[in-house]
């Protein structure tokens, strides 16, 4: 290799080429990860804005901020954007995209062009949906239940469905890419049980993406055909069954919940081990429980339908399976806690994020048991109890993990350190704001407050006000990192290759990494999370 070529090879992926084309037509997984990060952040704040208006409206029992229809459109925007344009692609497509090849010691993902295309599909589909939803309004909720969505809802439903359908391909492409990369491109010596748990988590997530998303596509096709061509598969007038839609929809959308949370579990496993300076408790159990969740996650969708009129016995089976899927989650929670045992704990901001994840996930997970319990579910189904439960999982746990992970790998991604003090403040604001927002919702749920209500009986006002105030604090917890992370891009301290002295292949290369990730091929000789060896060097 000539010297110039060597220089070029060791040049950071960030500095090589800053023309528009170098970014928009890049096939470098690290740059695609950035493209995703930017789009996802935009969608996140859009969805968050909708949530803020909703919380503002709910400060008072009357409908005095927006009209009834506008309210319905707002929670539809919030749901659609947060689920499909933020949560599903969040960790896999940003951190996963960036880290998966690094962690397995590969030069790139198996199909780099497909990766870039998936970003285009995602962004175009997302923008299209947003445009449709904002200009003409969709008021079905993100669940699109028939016959409301097919025969009664606003016109733009068609456009929204097309947008979501298109975005589904991006999920599938990502899934295929990750699975093949994990199978075929691991560095020599990197056996399955030497993989970081983050890779396991993304692998399991990809399996779910690949197997569930097409069913959503099929369901959306059927909805579209019913709306556009009048082919009424779910139309009761033809002997059709609206509940069939719910079966097909939840066959995707329940596993989709695991698409959202599994990567978060992966991230937190990395963070906790690093700041406990010790290997994870029960590595095999952790890896296998991730797989178990992704498989069992497919057997429980009917628990969204306990009161919908599915057969009693189907309800029983789905309830039983739902208890089963809680078992591996319980194991994971226990193992994260046990990982702290005899560690050398460092309470950095990242660790605070990780530990809040464990706490919030425990609450969210246990209230999931309430919902799996048939008789209790009948009462709290479609109330704020459910809203609180899934926000504890998806926001409390997942977003916390995402932001925590972003901090942890920020030096690797940008080559800059963020201000630790501010990060701690933000982590605490997030934790406090989140609990203040959503814990009252458990209470009002059991008290009987149904979800998707614009107006409500006055008795619930006190809890709603608490929740809305909490949302304000939560917003600060989200805006702060945005500000200081952007600040650090320019003024942050330069990061060494491994600022946390963390294990894992991604820390063996420069921060930020060169274009092809590693200057030499990597080999792996030991187990993951070997912090003893690192610390005793």
């Amino acid at each position: 290799m000539s010297e110039a070529a060597a220089n070029q090879a060791s040049e950071s992926y960030l500095t090589s080429g800053w023309k528009i084309r170098d970014w928009l037509l890049t096939t470098d997984h690290k740059r695609v990860a950035w493209l995703y990060t930017i789009s996802i952040t935009a969608f996140f704040f859009l969805g968050g804005l909708a949530a803020l208006v909703i919380r503002l409206e709910l400060m008072t029992p009357d409908g005095d901020v927006v009209s009834a229809d506008a309210y319905n459109q707002l929670f539809t925007i919030h749901g659609v954007v947060m689920v499909w344009f933020f949560l599903i692609p969040s960790i896999p497509n940003t951190l996963g995209n960036f880290l998966l090849p690094l962690m397995v010691g590969a030069k790139d993902l198996a199909f780099p062009k497909l990766n870039l295309i998936s970003w285009y599909i995602y962004t175009v589909g997302g923008l299209f949906t947003i445009a449709a939803v904002i200009t003409s309004g969709v008021d079905t909720g993100w669940t699109f239940y028939t016959p409301y969505s097919t025969q009664y809802a606003d016109r733009a439903v068609v456009a929204a469905l097309i947008g979501i359908f298109v975005v589904g391909f991006s999920s599938i492409a990502t899934g295929i890419n990750f699975i093949v990369t994990t199978h075929k491109m691991r560095a020599p010596g990197l056996t399955w049980f030497r993989l970081p748990l983050f890779v396991w988590a993304n692998y399991a997530t990809s399996l779910v993406m690949v197997l569930a998303t097409p069913v959503l596509s099929a369901t959306l096709i059927l909805l579209l055909l019913e709306r556009v061509l009048g082919i009424g598969i779910f139309d009761p007038a033809l002997g059709g069954d609206p509940i069939l839609f719910q079966h097909l929809f939840w066959f995707y959308s329940h596993p989709a919940v695991y698409i959202m949370i599994l990567p978060g579990m992966g991230v937190v496993s990395e963070l906790i081990t690093c700041f406990s300076r010790k290997t994870v408790f029960g590595y095999h159990g952790m890896a296998l429980s991730i797989l178990a969740i992704s498989v069992f996650g497919f057997l429980v969708w009917g628990h969204h339908m306990f009161v919908s009129g599915q057969s009693l016995y189907a309800g029983l089976m789905f309830s039983l399976f739902s208890f089963f899927v809680a078992l591996p989650s319980a194991i994971k929670t226990f193992n994260w806690t046990a990982t702290l045992y005899k560690g050398k704990l460092i309470f950095s901001a990242v660790m605070i994020y990780a530990l809040s994840f464990v706490g919030l996930f425990t609450i969210g997970g246990f209230t999931g048991i309430f919902l799996a319990s048939l008789a209790v579910d009948v009462h709290v189904h479609d109330t704020y109890f459910v809203v609180a439960h899934f926000h504890y999982i998806m926001v409390g746990s997942m977003v916390t993990a995402y932001i925590g992970g972003l901090h942890f790998w920020w030096p690797k991604m940008t080559g800059r350190m963020y201000p630790e003090i501010w990060a701690k403040v933000a982590a605490l604001a997030l934790f406090i704001g989140f609990n203040l927002t959503f814990f009252p919702q458990y209470l009002m749920g059991y008290a009987g407050m149904p979800r998707r209500y614009q107006t409500y009986p006055e008795d619930f006002q006190i809890l709603h006000v608490m929740s809305s105030l909490g949302a304000g604090v939560l917003a600060i917890g989200y805006l702060l990192p945005l500000v200081y992370l952007l600040w650090s891009l320019r003024w942050g301290k330069r990061a060494p290759p491994n600022p946390w002295r963390a294990a894992g292949l991604e820390w063996r290369t420069d921060s930020p990494p060169p274009k092809h990730n590693f200057l030499e091929p990597q080999t792996v000789t030991g187990p993951p999370y070997d912090y003893d060896t690192i610390d005793n060097k």
């Binding site: 198996a110 199909f111 780099p112 097409p214 059927l222 082919i231 007038a237």
Partner: protein, 220 residues
């Protein structure tokens, strides 16, 4: 995945791979996973069909007799023949025999087009018999339970339509392959591409087998 023409030299893999074996394995695996997703796509609709087939067995069996079994059978035979030629084209390409590859590909495409033609003819026939409950067209069904029979025809159009869409995509990709074969730049690469498309084409055939059996054959 691999349909883009390449100007790289013959033996080199794409830059993210270490060698050609790795690349070929990755391509194959990616394709198979993609086919699994396609299976789930059709599977979602088949699940719906199963539900109603179970709920209204007599009506559906009766409604099936209104489809043209002869044309359906002919189409099934045609499609498997095109799959055969696709498989032969793959073998010809691997043996680096350009003319033969070209002929096999063109035969495959021609049979595919004939398939779609016959399918279109069937649809037209059903349209003239007022058995096309689409876009508010009148649906006149001579048997019992016209509403549930309409449900049967809904599935008929969704399944055959979605299948036809897949056929068209496949035909488009095969046409691109014909162009590549004419150029004959990187035969091993072309062999891989033909193999990938062959998988897709055969898969579309597998789906058709089930569409044909459940819609045409499960009749009264």
């Amino acid at each position: 995945m691999t349909t883009t023409p390449s100007t790289t030299s013959k033996a080199a893999p794409d830059e993210q791979f270490d060698d050609l074996t790795q690349q070929r394995q990755a391509d194959l695996m990616g394709m198979w996973i993609f086919l699994a997703t396609e299976l789930m796509l059709f599977g979602g609709i088949f699940t719906g069909f199963t539900v109603y087939r179970f709920a209204y067995p007599e009506v559906f069996a009766e409604a099936a007799t209104h489809l043209d079994l002869r044309l359906g059978t002919l189409n099934t035979a045609l499609l498997v023949t095109s799959s055969l030629f696709m498989a032969l084209a793959e073998r010809a390409a691997n043996a680096e025999r350009r003319r033969l590859t070209l002929i096999f590909l063109i035969v495959t495409i021609s049979i595919g087009v004939v398939f779609l033609g016959i399918k279109g003819y069937e649809w037209h026939h059903e349209y003239t018999e007022n058995l096309m409950p689409i876009l508010g067209l009148e649906f006149e069904y001579p048997g019992a339970h016209p509403d549930r029979a309409e449900m049967f025809f809904n599935f008929y159009y969704v399944l055959t339509g979605l299948h036809a869409v897949h056929m068209s995509i496949g035909l488009g990709m095969l046409s691109v392959l014909v162009v590549f074969t004419l150029r004959w730049r990187d035969p091993p690469r072309l062999g891989r591409q033909i193999q990938m498309n062959g998988l897709y084409w055969a898969f579309v055939d597998v789906v058709w087998v089930f569409i044909f059996t459940t819609l045409y054959l499960l009749r009264a």
